[in-house]
């Protein structure tokens, strides 16, 4: 059994922060190339990733070599109560770091046509650092600061291709809506501070006075916007549709879900009634499923479509969590975590392969996807795999997640839960209406090809930097489909932690 623990969450955060500054300075001072910047960024994510896996062994070695230095280390980091870890946060941050490493490698080729890469990688690292900081913070002010760090980097990255009006527009929309959310969150934190006189979450227990309640509600509402729960979702399709594909992969794949988890964890530990929280989330998640899937049907732009699909998938995740909270079902929470990783892998794979199409054959609209036939078959197959996994066909991870979720839903006798399970199913049926045409366009030669296109086939080679991360994600999907038990074991711990939060 994998143990999700992290003694010193400060170390990864510190490392990421330093690397961001280092890359920026190195890029300014030595004019290093895009590839080396990308590799440096990937290296920093990998370092953090492996630090999290081997932390225990590392600490033992340190203990062994420098007797007593562990105490120094402990006194350096643990004296303040700003940070803490929990299994769910470790789980999500590990997905984040792994995904970010893949995306950085991918950018080694993908960003070659852009300028200002020296700003891109530090922003990416800081955004991930912000998300990780949110996941590990035990203090509302620290949480808010990291949230702002993440958000501001995200706004900048969405508008990274600033020469296109649409990117600026999307970034600006994201900025406006995100700022409103930030202000509401800050107001909520202020109200909570008024009540308790402290910002540490551990101190905030038990008050039923109205400022505290309103504070929690405002906190909740702000984070709902940041995690794209309908009706506060409108920024997402624009932002994810216009950002560079590599950034969309991170934003859609894990960022939104990470923020959602933080919201869930903090509101629960602030003493929000789990049943009430579950009920509110249930309503919002059903809206997400309906709106995301229906809007997905009318999209003509591939990345916007994937954005709406994220909204729908966010609905599934929120629904699983909501049912878990309302009916005290560990299995439902577990399925929520399972869908998070299934979606993270599949959606980032979809965005990355979409980026390949965009980069080589300029296919941004759905009908342009047929141009992919002039590329080697590999990215098309990977895209197909991602779509099939997203549309929950067996035996891919999306289906396994759905199976676990529905199994847990049907163990309850609650009518609302059963009804929402049916909405879940109907949603995934409607989703075929937009996933299946994607595959059709990609794999059929229905439409007439441009005359010289046939000749190009197989002449173009896809850069290794781009195909490597895609291959890793494909292998990951196949691995999870062949033995989902490993993932189940990991999610158990995270789900049990959330259960223990419900007091």
């Amino acid at each position: 059994m994998v143990i999700l623990s992290l003694q010193y969450p400060q170390i990864p955060l510190l490392l990421l922060g330093c690397m961001a500054v280092f890359i920026f300075l190195a890029a300014r001072a030595f004019k290093i190339t895009n590839v080396s910047m990308a590799l440096l960024a990937a290296l920093s994510f990998l370092l953090v990733f492996f630090y999290m896996i081997f932390e225990n062994q590392l600490l033992q070695i340190i203990n062994h070599w420098f007797m007593g230095s562990r105490n120094n280390l402990a006194s350096l980091f643990s004296s303040t109560a700003f940070y803490s870890y929990d299994p769910g946060a470790v789980f999500i941050s590990m997905i984040t770091f792994g995904l970010a490493a893949l995306v950085s490698i991918y950018c080694a080729e993908y960003l070659n046509l852009d300028r200002r890469q020296h700003a891109f990688y530090p922003l990416l690292i800081l955004m991930i650092c912000g998300l990780a900081g949110m996941l590990f913070s035990a203090d509302l002010m620290v949480l808010y600061l990291f949230c702002e760090l993440m958000s501001i980097c995200a706004y900048a990255l969405v508008a990274f291709r600033r020469r296109t009006d649409t990117a600026i527009e999307a970034g600006f929309k994201y900025l406006m809506m995100g700022s409103v959310a930030s202000i509401v969150i800050l107001l909520g934190i202020t109200l909570l501070f008024l009540t308790y006189g402290s910002l540490n979450i551990a101190d905030m227990q038990g008050s039923t006075s109205w400022p505290a309640q309103i504070g929690i509600l405002m906190f909740f509402a702000g984070f709902c916007l940041k995690s794209a729960l309908v009706p506060m979702h409108t920024w997402l399709p624009d932002a994810h549709g216009r950002a560079p594909s590599s950034i969309s992969a991170i934003l859609s794949g894990i960022l939104v879900q990470g923020v959602f988890y933080v919201m869930l964890k903090i509101t629960l530990s602030l003493g929000f009634d789990p049943i009430l929280l579950g009920t509110i989330l249930l309503c919002l998640s059903l809206l997400n499923i309906v709106v995301g899937n229906l809007m997905g049907l009318v999209q003509t732009h591939t990345k916007r479509l994937l954005g709406y699909s994220t909204i729908a998938q966010m609905g599934y995740i929120a629904l699983c969590m909501a049912v878990g909270l309302r009916n005290n079902l560990t299995l439902a929470l577990q399925s929520g975590f399972f869908i998070i990783i299934a979606h993270a892998v599949a959606k980032s794979l979809a965005f990355l392969t979409k980026g390949v199409f965009h980069y080589y054959v300029d296919a941004s609209e759905i009908k342009h996807l047929q141009r992919a036939s002039s590329l080697p078959i590999f990215p098309s197959v990977a895209f197909g795999l991602a779509i099939i996994s997203l549309s929950a066909l067996p035996p891919f991870p999306g289906f396994t997640g759905k199976w676990i979720a529905l199994t847990s839903f049907f163990t309850s006798t609650d009518k609302i839960t059963i009804l929402s399970a049916l909405v879940f199913l109907a949603g995934s049926l409607v989703a075929f209406g937009y996933y299946f045409p994607l595959l059709l366009v990609l794999f059929s030669k229905l439409h007439k090809q441009e005359p010289n296109e046939n000749k190009k086939r197989n002449q173009r080679k896809i850069s290794l930097w781009m195909s490597m991360p895609i291959a890793v994600l494909v292998i990951l999907i196949l691995f999870i489909s062949s033995s989902p038990q490993y993932l189940m074991d990991i999610t158990t711990e995270a789900a049990l932690f959330l259960m223990s939060m419900m007091r």
Partner: protein
């Protein structure tokens, strides 16, 4: 792993592995793809026949793999007497469709993908019948759907193939989802996913039993294409390339019957299932009439045969709905006979389309003198589907009709029999117009040998199956008495 378990697995693997290899590396060997696919399906059939002695000795132990132990999901493969007739049908139909495809599909640079998908489609169907647990069943159920939808999309015969494939996919997937809900309800109540466990009877909350039964019947009804859910069938069958149509009509439709026999009828008792008897009989009759009437007014010859499937599925549903042993045995037998005859009729239609180049019945006249062999085959097929004695379908129709009289609803039984007049009407119209109406078709093209071979051998099979029903009957009636808790 014992020999018999190995055979279990290899019946599937000999189709799945070549399919994936063809998909990945097939470009270099695309000229030989058809032979690879045909060999794979022949080997699969051979392995299956080698399994029959094991089955007779009762040594058919399941082959299990742990998949998701903490959820209690264990993948499991098993052949038993209930899956036997369906697996048999499916294996034979695949081979006939493959041979037909060799002559029918023009060689091009995507041949390897076509044959790989055909193999996957076939593997999906054998996997559905071989599976012994609901997870694997659902996986193969969906594989079957995806492979066939992709075949329709890429090799469809007119420009509207994309729309047709989408319609087929969405409607059939709706049925799959209903089945999935029923699966999950059973699973979350009993915690068991093996069929053998379901077979022994499970403890269920009494209120949910009718709901689960309804979900199963609706879901499998979509696959069977009985009347309210038939809307995908005529389009898909007429749009798909002929080898795929043969597999869709002759083998895939029967999967719905298999599902009904395997799930609701296996784990419910007769008293629990009795409430579905009358609706099933009525829907069966409605399908029978509706399909026949539509076939009577349709002008596209491929669509006529397609609507005939709707009508024939009505017979099967009626037989199942009588809840008598005669009816259930008759329905199962009908699945096999219908597969033979429907494959034959589609082969004949394929031959005509290839030879004449026309699909509209108004344009096809006086083929009798020009194509005597085809005329003989088609007439035998037509007589068979009309229920003429000594040809295949007569035996099973007899059982289904007589089962109707064992129920309290004699009026329905009479209606059922009267419906077969319509069957004769549409098929005689087809044969009469195309072969015996005076007139000329402009030009007759030469037809590949493989098409003739398949058509003639299916004709022989039709006659043989009609004259010697006994061996088949014995195999089928082996375990059917055990369903519905064995309380006949």
């Amino acid at each position: 792993m014992k020999t018999q378990e190995l055979i279990n697995l290899s019946v599937l693997l000999v189709k799945l592995l070549p399919a994936f290899l063809l998909l990945i590396f097939g470009k270099a060997v695309r000229r030989y793809a058809k032979w690879i696919a045909l060999t794979a399906s022949l080997v699969s059939l051979g392995l299956f026949i080698a399994y029959i002695p094991i089955l007779q000795q009762g040594l058919n132990t399941p082959l299990n793999f742990d998949y998701l132990p903490s959820m209690g999901i264990q993948l499991s493969l098993k052949i038993d007497w209930l899956s036997f007739p369906f697996l048999l049908t499916e294996e034979f139909v695949t081979i006939f469709a493959m041979i037909f495809a060799i002559g029918y599909i023009k060689p091009d640079d995507r041949n390897h993908i076509f044959y790989a998908l055909l193999l996957l489609f076939s593997a999906g169907m054998s996997g559905t019948t071989l599976a012994n647990d609901i997870f694997l069943f659902y996986f193969f159920w969906e594989l079957m759907l995806i492979a066939s939808a992709l075949l329709v999309v890429n090799w469809g015969e007119s420009a509207k193939r994309t729309a047709v494939a989408l319609k087929y996919f969405i409607i059939t997937h709706l049925g799959s989802l209903l089945v999935l809900v029923a699966f999950i309800m059973i699973y979350s109540q009993s915690g068991m996913d093996h069929f053998s466990a379901l077979w022994d009877g499970v403890q269920m909350v009494p209120e949910t039993i009718p709901l689960i039964g309804t979900l199963f019947l609706l879901g499998f009804g979509v696959k069977m294409a009985v009347v309210p859910f038939h809307i995908w069938l005529p389009d898909t069958h007429s749009e798909a390339p002929m080898p795929v149509t043969i597999m869709l009509a002759a083998a895939m439709l029967s999967m719905g019957t298999y599902g009904i026999l395997r799930f609701p009828m296996s784990f419910q008792t007769p008293s629990q299932f009795a409430m579905f008897s009358l609706p099933m009989m009525i829907i069966g009759i409605v399908s029978e009439y509706y399909g026949a009437i539509m076939a009577l007014v349709e002008t596209d010859i491929k669509r006529i045969i397609a609507y005939s499937s709707v009508s024939q599925m009505g017979y099967i549903l009626f037989g199942l709905g009588t809840l008598t042993l005669t009816g259930v045995v008759g329905a199962t037998l009908h699945v096999i006979y219908h597969a033979i005859v429907k494959a034959l009729l589609f082969c004949c239609v394929g031959w005509i389309i290839k030879a004449v180049g026309q699909r509209n019945i108004k344009d096809i006249r006086g083929l009798r003198k020009k194509l005597p062999l085809l005329t003989a085959c088609t007439i035998l097929g037509a007589l068979s589907i009309a229920g003429v004695p000594a040809l295949a379908i007569f035996n099973s129709e007899w059982l289904i009709f007589s089962s109707g009289f064992q129920t309290p609803y004699i009026a329905l039984a009479i209606l059922e029999i009267l419906g077969s007049i319509l069957t004769s009407a549409y098929i005689l119209r087809l044969v009469g117009t195309m072969f015996f109406t005076p007139g000329e078709v402009s030009k007759i093209h030469e037809v590949p040998f493989s098409i003739k071979l398949v058509t003639v051998s299916l004709t022989v099979l039709t006659v043989l199956a009609g004259i010697f029903p006994r061996p088949l009957f014995n195999y089928i009636a082996n375990e059917l008495p055990l369903i519905l808790g064995g309380g006949w």
